[in-house]
């Protein structure tokens, strides 16, 4: 039993970490904050994502991808959270996942290689804002392949080459440049994204034939798992930076980090983030091995990560004192990114409600109950 990343996954993590340390740090993030009218996709960053294979992790090898698992993507998501990395990485990954899980062989062959290489940027609209994360929350309606609906709070629609939209009967590929599609930008507090509203009014969509409700739910869960990992990256960074700051900031003749009230708060946050890291890791692994408790694990990860990231980024401001509330300090990058993601693909309360649906509403010895060795019965790894 090894509940830890493989050597390869650690190498992937280290590669992302060094790239962000050397090539895309807070200075580059700040540039996006100072230029809200830019498209929000720094060209060198996007090029690197393609070159490093970070857009190809989940694309099968037969379509020029690397064919790794969700846990590998989660490793990247966590680093991207810690670095408050902008750009349509998540949207592109999710378009790829939609195609991989529900696309026809032709659709896969047409789009997956470009998505893996970074030549095509994806964006998704899978859930109405505020709705419970299930296929019933699909934001569009479809009739005979023609789509209509208002898709709110879409990440990076203005720069997208390919949209995946959920309608009541499944997923559709939509060309954002097609007739009947109007994209309007919306100001976002978190400037590591560029938000927009997409109006569909008689737009043609190409159905993904395998998009059953179960597959749509799976895609929503995968999105939640990746967001949970991003949040966990944010939260860990918030705690680490705050601890470092409080070791050196002196007030009343001693480092503020020597005050017991701060110590205890930071100890509790550290423990909370540790729990959330485990949950975020396991949720990705559970998807990869199709564990019986994979839905439960996704909801545990998302609710725990959202709570912990909210608390950690809030404490980051409080325990930096006045400086933590300024534009010039990086604190607000974390706070604002966390706010955007805390409720994405279901907020903490909705995922707790889902936990209740899975465990409270079912018979006590339902297979959703997991334990060490549970994968044995699933017979996969």
């Amino acid at each position: 039993m090894h509940f830890q990343l493989t050597d390869e996954q650690r190498a992937l993590r280290d590669a992302a970490r060094s790239y962000l340390r050397d090539r895309f740090g807070p200075r580059q993030v700040r540039a996006l904050y100072e230029d809200p009218d830019s498209d929000g996709v720094p060209a060198p960053l996007w090029q690197a994502l393609g070159e490093q294979g970070w857009l190809a992790v989940l694309v099968p090898e037969e379509h020029d991808g690397i064919g790794l698992g969700l846990l590998d993507a989660a490793v990247l998501a966590r680093e991207f959270g810690a670095g408050t990395v902008p750009g349509p990485w998540l949207g592109t990954i999710l378009v790829g996942e939609a195609l991989r899980l529900a696309g026809s062989p032709e659709q896969q062959a047409t789009h997956l290689p470009d998505l893996a290489a970074g030549g095509v940027r994806g964006a998704v609209a899978l859930l109405r804002p505020g709705w419970f994360p299930s296929p019933a929350g699909a934001p569009a309606s479809a009739r005979d392949g023609v789509l209509s609906g208002r898709l709110d709070l879409v990440d990076y629609p203005s720069t997208a080459d390919l949209l995946v939209v959920a309608a009541q009967d499944g997923l559709y590929l939509v060309d954002p440049a097609a007739a009947g599609v109007t994209v309007s930008p919306v100001d976002a507090l978190d400037r590591t994204t560029r938000l927009g509203t997409v109006l569909l009014d008689g737009a043609r969509g190409e159905k993904l034939p395998g998009s059953t409700p179960a597959v749509v739910q799976d895609l929503l869960d995968r999105a939640a798992v990746l967001v949970a990992n991003d949040l966990v990256g944010i939260a860990r960074k918030a705690v680490t930076d705050t601890v470092e700051y409080d070791k050196t900031r002196v007030q009343f003749g001693r480092p503020v980090g020597s005050f017991q009230a701060l110590k205890h708060s930071l100890a509790d946050l550290h423990i909370g983030v540790t729990f959330a890291e485990h949950a975020a890791t396991y949720s990705a692994h559970a998807a990869d091995v199709d564990a019986p408790d994979r839905q439960l694990a996704a909801s545990i990860a998302k609710s725990k990560a959202a709570d912990v990231s909210r608390d950690a980024t809030g404490a980051m401001i409080q325990f930096h004192g006045g400086i933590g509330y300024t534009w010039e300090h990086d604190t607000h990058f974390y706070f604002k990114r966390s706010k955007r993601l805390e409720a994405a693909y279901g907020d903490a309360a909705q995922h707790r409600e889902r936990v209740a649906r899975l465990l409270v509403d079912q018979a006590p010895d339902s297979p959703a109950v997991s334990a060490v060795g549970s994968e044995m019965s699933a017979g996969v790894a």
């Binding site: 208002r150 007030q251 004192g321 534009w327 706010k339």
Partner: protein, 397 residues
């Protein structure tokens, strides 16, 4: 127990309400009006309106008439705060001067200082800044480094202040500086409270941008700036005691103004919850969000009860002492609770300027972020809790 105000107090309410009806344009009551102005426009608009209010006799409500006040009761001041917040009147441009400087001048100032400072302050002819915090002296105010060397009839000021509200609009600044060289380990000795003209070459103000994007705060740099030796408040070398007295005036506040503001915020959050879609029904019908909204309302109403308690004590001439230092924790935590429920209601839409329905959100979002600064400035929550534990509960140091 009798929560009715006296007839005289209620007459004042009626009079002030009538004045507000007549003198506060409808558009100025809407947050959107202010959201659409630049900071400079907003400041000047508020200044002009406040000047008119003072000219019509609605400034310094509970202060003596001989210094330009209205000579009213503490209850009238509470009613004034409440009515101002109720209609969403513009916030004062002279907040630090009104809350801190004026009562200190009244208590410790010379007759000349009283006459020259209070009137122009009330009429917004002089906008006052407060210069206490420094980069190395936040929660630990006594660590401040700014120097004011006596040179003949003047002081020569050198140093830096930070988190200065209205730094870009201030005419004068009351600031704490070291006027004599360090007295061994006595960190509190040798300080003086100086009243400094900001319109001089040696004073430079820079805006400090906040995470909201706004710049209510600034930094003030002093480079061989001067200040006449007569412009000391409370006596040379008595700066620490003067500052402590000054800060104590916040404690007498009944928080009814804060209650009324936050209650308006809560009402607006509820409106948003009624308009926002959540699973095909209004978010206001979600049982879990209702818990969050109601929990905030419970704290709000408790804050109101507490403000009645404080007002009762004040009216009876009782000094609440350190018990009153709980008020800062109470209102700032309550503000956080209301803001937290806004965050919970908005979800992914937090930070978006408006909802599809046309409901504007800038003001509520700014308030939610602003609530996070309120647990830091004016004595962080951590410092305040220690004060309550040691001074109110008597726990050992």
């Amino acid at each position: 127990m009798d929560l009715r105000h006296s007839e005289k107090d209620e007459q004042f309410r009626a009079e002030f309400r009538a004045w507000l009806d007549a003198s506060l344009p409808q558009e100025m009551r809407r947050p959107e009006f202010w959201a659409d102005l630049s900071e400079e426009e907003s400041f000047q608009t508020r200044r002009t309106w406040e000047k008119g209010k003072a000219q019509d006799g609605f400034a310094g409500i509970a202060w003596p008439t001989e210094y330009g006040g209205r000579g009213g009761t503490p209850t009238m001041k509470a009613i004034y705060d409440e009515e101002m917040a109720r209609v969403g009147a513009p916030s004062t441009v002279n907040a630090l001067g009104l809350a801190f400087l004026a009562p200190t001048v009244m208590a410790l100032g010379t007759e000349e200082q009283k006459r020259s400072i209070i009137g122009p302050l009330l009429h917004c002819d002089v906008i006052w800044c407060q210069g206490f915090s420094e980069p190395g002296a936040g929660s630990d105010l006594a660590a401040l480094q700014m120097r004011a060397e006596p040179q003949g009839e003047e002081y020569l000021l050198n140093g830096q202040k930070i988190w200065t509200t209205n730094a870009m609009h201030g005419d004068r600044i009351f600031t704490l500086a070291r006027t004599s060289t360090s007295d061994g380990g006595k960190r509190h000795a040798g300080m003086s409270m100086l009243l400094v003209d900001m319109h001089q070459p040696g004073v430079e103000s820079r805006p400090l941008k906040q995470m909201t994007g706004a710049s209510e705060f600034g930094e003030v740099f002093f480079t061989d700036a001067t200040c006449p030796r007569s412009d000391v408040l409370g006596g040379e070398g008595n700066g620490w005691a003067t500052a402590m007295l000054l800060l104590s005036f916040e404690r007498g506040s009944s928080a009814i103004g804060q209650y009324t503001e936050f209650r308006r915020q809560w009402d607006d959050v509820v409106d948003v919850a009624r308009a926002l879609d959540r699973d095909g029904r209004p978010a206001a019908q979600d049982p879990v969000l209702r818990q969050s909204l109601a929990a905030a309302l419970v704290e709000l109403e408790c804050l109101k009860y507490h403000s009645w308690h404080v007002l009762t004590q004040t009216t009876q001439g009782r000094d609440l002492g350190f018990e009153a230092s709980m008020t800062k924790i109470m209102w700032s935590e309550t503000f956080r609770r209301v803001s937290d429920s806004y965050e919970a209601v908005l979800g992914t839409a937090f930070g978006v300027p408006e909802l599809g329905s046309g409901l504007r959100l800038e003001e509520l979002t700014s308030l939610a972020m602003w609530s996070r600064s309120c647990t830091i400035w004016g004595g962080s929550q951590q410092v305040q809790r220690t004060v309550v534990a040691e001074r109110v509960l008597g726990l050992p140091r």
